[in-house]
Amino acid sequence: MSQSRLEHTPKKDTPSFNDRVCAKCMGHRSLCGVNPCPLLMRAKSLANLDTSLTGLDLIGSSPPSVFVGSYGYPKVLMGPLVPPIRGKEAELMERPDLWLSKSLDQILSIRFKLVRTKSRLAIQEAIDPSRLLHDTQTLALSEKPTDSDATLLKRPQFTSVFSDRTLPIGPSAPLHKFRLEDNPSVPRKVDKVTSDTDYKAVLGVIDLFDEGIQQEHITRLLSVGLLGQKKSRKLVPTEWSITAVDDIVGKELHRRVLRMPWINDFYVFGDYALGNTVVILFMPRAWQFEALECWLYGKNSNVISDHEFSKGRTTYAKDVVGAYYATRLPALEYLTRIRRQAGVLVFMEVNPEKWVPLGVWRFREIARRALTRKPRKYSTLDEAITEVSNYLSNPIENYLKVSSVYNEVRSQTVLTDFFE
């Protein structure tokens, strides 16, 4: 068609991707009308598959990493992610906490080396795993890269690249055979929790977290169905298990934080990485939390928010979704560390010009990095809010206007003010 040829070559000054639709399209709905998708093209060039992969045999060290899709649930496409390379380098591919200092292209090229293998399994198969699933589960137990050998049915192809919650996913191909060549290195606690088939998944996740197991590792275990009581074990799509782990650990820390005394000042933390700004404000109050997220599309961009008061929430944060749980966890981790209670506002700003969907981990890791620094302390809310606004490019009023927690703090008085 002649029309599509015209659109084929975007004008010189148009950005390589459309700010407004790329976030929704994630590279597989061609909403911007440019075909082929510039993001996919970039991914292909970064991955450099043609030179690294010949034939259908894939021999390499998995980081270790497993992806369980959500499409078609309860029959999902799952399989290990295997790069066509061997060795220690693979470990970096599944460690987003080490990526903040890297550039977007570096992150994508690291991630796109991984080939996602797929085979369709019913989620209940985790109760009685087949050989393939068993090997995948064994891989997931490991904390270090493990040599493996996969035979593919087709050459890997880029289909969908990005998801708003999971790490970027490289090319994928249906899986024929998968075999581990090496013994996994399993931390003792992981072995204990996963082999206990009478232990509930929630308790298992909390135990592993307290033991200091990497969060990606716990997510992986939950996702391949290695946690929980035997008869209720199942495969969990990766994007769901990420938020599930954030929420399970968050709920437990929330319970602990409620018993702690309030902080005395207003604390402000802020950090920026990869086109994302995260600012965290702690207020001397009972625990309450609100996540405010804003995409900078222009002046006065829309701010979305979800909040909870001291009892926590029982329904899903359906506006901010995964980012809500991903930022609540670091805030609670910080409060547990300093043994104090506070009300927390998290301001997130995303600059679409410098951004591709990387997954919610970026908010979690930026927040964690910010919280390792010393807080800026203020004695009044107004001073603290001014400091917060220094980090943000969208006017602070737009955030405060929609914030339920802020309005509550401003209007609800405290009884002790009235006691003589």
């Binding site: 009972a286 009884l415 003010d417 009235f418």
Partner: protein, 250 residues
């Protein structure tokens, strides 16, 4: 040493429900005169005060002062197991730091709860003077809170010499409930030292009004000051809630 019996498990359930509206931990102080509790909720915006004189218990024995700190979740779970006609026996076991609740009915059931460490500071009953005192049917108050809750997240109370008005508004609309003194009115008594108006959060009022177990409730407040809602339990006992006001944006 503390030992007491209570004939009606219903009374105890109502008490536990009232405590559970605001608290996650209960901190009872027990003396020979009776059982008391004064606690702020976690946001420090509301307070509950409970007074159970020794007279409401059938048997009552207490040497010195005993502090009992229990988790509300555990208390609620135990009280859910009580049958309507059970007789309750409370015992404090100092040596094992347990609080024992025995239910005597068709079977003798014993629950022994782990005591928590009591907080270092005790909340005192604040001495606040109020300009308005009103006594009204608890049901009328509950309905008023629900009515205003339809449109608003806060409730404004206005009082003058013979009327008590509940107001609320939001983007969606306004609501108003008017109570006048007089025969057949739900408002039994109204004393106004001066015209007053104050605003309170509806989510707190809704929770608090749910736990009102008596027929009538006494409400006291002043302009932009806390409100106290007081009702009796088991005749001689008393539960009061104090709630800090909302103010126009500071």
């Amino acid at each position: 040493m503390f030992h007491a019996t209570l004939d009606s498990s219903k009374t105890w359930k109502l008490i536990v429900d009232a405590l559970a509206t605001l608290l996650t931990e209960t901190h009872f102080v027990i003396t020979e005169k009776g059982m008391t509790l004064r606690q702020l909720d976690s946001s420090k915006a509301a307070m509950i005060a409970l007074d159970l004189p020794a007279a409401i218990f059938q048997e009552y024995e207490c040497d010195g002062e005993v502090e009992i700190c229990l988790g509300v979740d555990e208390l609620t779970k135990v009280s859910k197991r009580m049958a309507g006609d059970d007789k309750l026996v409370f015992t404090h076991n100092e040596s094992e730091s347990r609080f024992e609740i025995k239910m005597l009915g068709q079977a003798e059931r014993r629950f022994s709860l782990q005591l928590l460490i009591p907080p270092e500071e005790r909340t005192k009953q604040p001495s606040i003077k109020f300009d308005v005192q009103a006594e009204l049917f608890a049901d009328a108050f509950k309905q008023a809170v629900k009515d205003i809750g339809v449109v608003s997240t806060y409730l404004r109370i206005n009082a003058d010499d013979d009327t008590l008005t509940f107001l609320g508004d939001s983007d969606t609309g306004e609501a108003e409930v008017i109570l006048r003194t007089g025969e057949e009115s739900a408002l039994c008594e109204l004393q106004t030292k001066k015209k007053s108006s104050a605003m309170y959060a509806i989510n707190y009022l809704a929770d608090i009004s749910k736990s009102m177990a008596s027929d009538s409730v006494i409400i006291q407040f002043s302009s932009n000051k806390p409100i106290m809602m007081e009702f009796s339990i088991a005749e001689a006992g008393r539960i009061s809630f104090i709630l800090a006001p909302r103010v126009e944006r500071r």
